[in-house]
């Protein structure tokens, strides 16, 4: 009798345990978290692809960007885009350090060309960063037109685009950057060693 009830108990545990397990497997989710609305996602989503697909409507030119730069950027980055307390934004021969005389290499670690408009393979990086991170302590206060205009100004001053080029969601990703082909991406695989040097 006692043995039988114990057996029944064991069977019951095994069966319900099995059912529970099957239940987990069939259920695709833990059911945790809230589904955001499309508007909520749009409000969060400030990452701009090199294709520019997330860029908002609006436009700007270098001419429009010049007074904005003077007003919102020059205090930290310098009137000419270099020599300020904040990183260099516009390359000039007089401020380009000689080889071996570069500032200490903490990231972003771009020796001799640590100017976004020169080094970034895509103009979208500039738009994205101004939009998310500038001006310091007043981040995300710039309107899309202002971000387009400032991006155009930096690209013009760095010799990438003409002064009158209209920069918008369509034209920005098309801008041929000087360092467009300046990178390769290694493919990462689990358990993959570095290629070298790996011999004592």
């Amino acid at each position: 009798m006692r043995l039988r009830s114990l057996l029944l108990l064991v069977i019951a545990v095994v069966v319900t345990g099995g059912l529970c397990h099957a239940g987990w497997a069939q259920s695709p989710t833990y059911g945790l978290g809230k589904t955001p609305t499309a508007e909520e996602i749009r409000a969060w989503d400030i990452a701009i692809s090199p294709t520019g697909k997330e860029l908002p409507p609006g436009s700007g030119t270098a001419k429009e960007g010049a007074p904005l730069y003077a007003q919102k950027c020059a205090a930290c980055h310098g009137a000419t885009g270099s020599g300020g307390r904040a990183p260099e934004l516009i390359r000039s021969e007089s401020t380009t350090p000689a080889p071996g005389k570069q500032p200490p290499c903490l990231s972003p670690c771009i020796r001799g060309a640590n100017v976004m408009a020169i080094h970034s393979p895509y103009a979208t990086t500039i738009w994205d960063y101004i939009n998310r991170g500038m001006p310091f302590s007043k981040e995300e206060t710039l309107k899309p037109n202002e971000v387009y205009a400032l991006t155009a100004f930096l690209l013009y001053k760095s010799g990438v685009i003409p002064e009158d080029q209209v920069v918008d969601a369509q034209s920005l990703p098309q801008i041929k950057m000087p360092n467009r082909d300046g990178y390769v991406l290694p493919e990462w695989k689990h358990g993959m060693p570095r290629p070298f040097p790996n011999k004592p």
């Binding site: 989503d45 692809s49 090199p50 307390r85 071996g100 670690c109 990178y183 990462w188 004592p200």
Partner: protein, 411 residues
């Protein structure tokens, strides 16, 4: 009157006892100090001994905080470390542009996963904690961790690495929860500090062993290390371990964010030396700035780690790399984690150069700068004054002078 006398005698006796105790205390170097904190505070949250003075310092190259009030890079005092865990208070701090640590109310915290997924979802911290958790010991190391000749101590050469037990939800579990769509190949993670620093990692890594972490060494993350939630990408450069994680977007390409563009290289040989750290180690004792008090037996000890997995072996050389001996692994070995090694060593007053060399589970061996120079076709001493390509996992040698003083042998 009698009672008064008795009281005075008692007082005198007591005084003698106190004086005697005082004598014993000073004989053992123990001086009583008035408690600075209330007993209530002492009970609530313990403090280390005031005799222990090990602290972090800013990197040599950049003030921290700078004139904008931004924190850059602050170094862990590896010379004082024992075992493999870095106390959370001494964990290095690295920020990309420099950042002001954001104040995030854990009750208001939200983490959004969206992009190329079937079910975009937004989680509260409480909801993240309702998922099954993992706790794993991993190092975190900044790409800026590069020994230079002007560095005097191991804190300066190598202090941008630390190791903690991280607790959180496997990222792969959350990604399965939202249902990653076909064609997705990268994820972009984003923090909530003022620049909302973002970085791209391959989906393969995101699905492999990353952790959406809320715990560090048995308690919530420290604010400087991402409170309330950060990403842990085991073995990868520090910058991908997004602090104050607020969003992850599943995408079909490298997004070339501000953080990303600083790390790119045109040379495939260099590009292959980024993302995942190579095998690395450093001797923490004896190391630069320390002094051996006399001849005799010492323990050479240090830390080894690798982005490629577990440390398999550490060799130590006491003759500048001419001969090598197996070090003992002293403690547990975890994948992508600091591993403590050591070796008995008798110093007899000779000048010598000490080096350690890590071999990991993939058979990768930590190189010298001269070996890297050979690969990149530059003179053997070229990288003494230039950063090596990619992340720097080269050997840092220490020179012991005849008076026992220890110096950076790169100098």
């Amino acid at each position: 009157m009698d009672s008064k006398k008795a009281g005075r005698r008692k007082f005198l006796k007591g005084g003698a006892a106190v004086a005697a105790m005082g004598a014993i205390q000073s004989a053992t170097g123990q001086t009583p100090v008035p408690a600075k904190r209330s007993l209530k505070d002492e009970i609530a949250y313990g403090e280390r001994s005031h005799f222990v003075t090990s602290v972090r310092v800013p990197v040599l190259e950049r003030p921290s905080p700078d004139e904008f009030g931004l924190t850059f890079h602050v170094l862990t005092p590896l010379q004082d470390s024992v075992g493999i865990i870095t106390p959370s208070s001494l964990h290095f701090v690295g920020t990309h542009r420099g950042a002001i640590v954001p104040e995030i109310d854990p009750g208001e915290y939200r983490f959004l996963i969206h992009g190329m997924v079937d079910r975009p979802l937004e989680f509260t911290l409480e909801e993240l904690k309702r998922f099954p958790s993992v706790s794993r010991i991993h190092f975190l190391e900044c790409l800026g961790n590069r020994g230079k000749p002007e560095h005097k101590t191991v804190q300066q050469t190598t202090g941008l690495t630390s190791c903690s037990e991280w607790t959180g939800v496997p990222l792969s579990l959350l990604l399965k929860e939202v249902g990653v769509q076909k064609g997705a190949s990268w994820v972009v993670s984003e923090g909530s500090e003022e620049v909302k620093g973002a970085g791209s990692i391959e989906l393969a890594k995101a699905m492999d062993d990353c952790i959406v972490a809320y715990g560090q060494n048995g308690e919530p993350l420290r604010p400087q290390n991402g409170f309330p939630v950060r990403l842990i990408v085991p073995g990868f450069e520090g910058i991908y371990n997004t602090k104050w994680l607020r969003r992850m977007k599943v995408v079909d390409r490298y997004y070339m964010t501000y953080n990303d563009y600083g790390h790119i290289s045109k040379d495939p040989k260099v590009a292959a030396l980024t993302f995942q750290w190579g095998p690395k180690s450093v001797i923490t004792f004896p190391s630069g700035g320390q002094k051996l008090p006399g001849h005799g037996v010492y323990q050479i000890t240090g830390l080894a780690w690798s982005g490629g997995g577990a440390v398999r072996k550490v060799d130590i050389s006491t003759d500048g790399g001419h001969t090598w001996k197996d070090a003992e692994i002293r403690g547990e070995v975890h994948r992508m984690a600091h591993t403590r090694f050591g070796m008995n060593w008798k110093w007899e007053g000779q000048e010598c150069v000490l080096m350690s060399r890590c071999t990991d589970e993939l058979g990768q061996v930590q190189p010298t700068r001269a070996q890297v120079a050979k690969v990149f076709n530059v003179p053997p001493d070229y990288y003494h004054n230039h950063g090596v390509p990619g992340s720097d996992n080269t050997i840092v040698p220490w020179r012991v002078a005849t008076d026992g003083s220890v110096y950076n042998a790169l100098a």
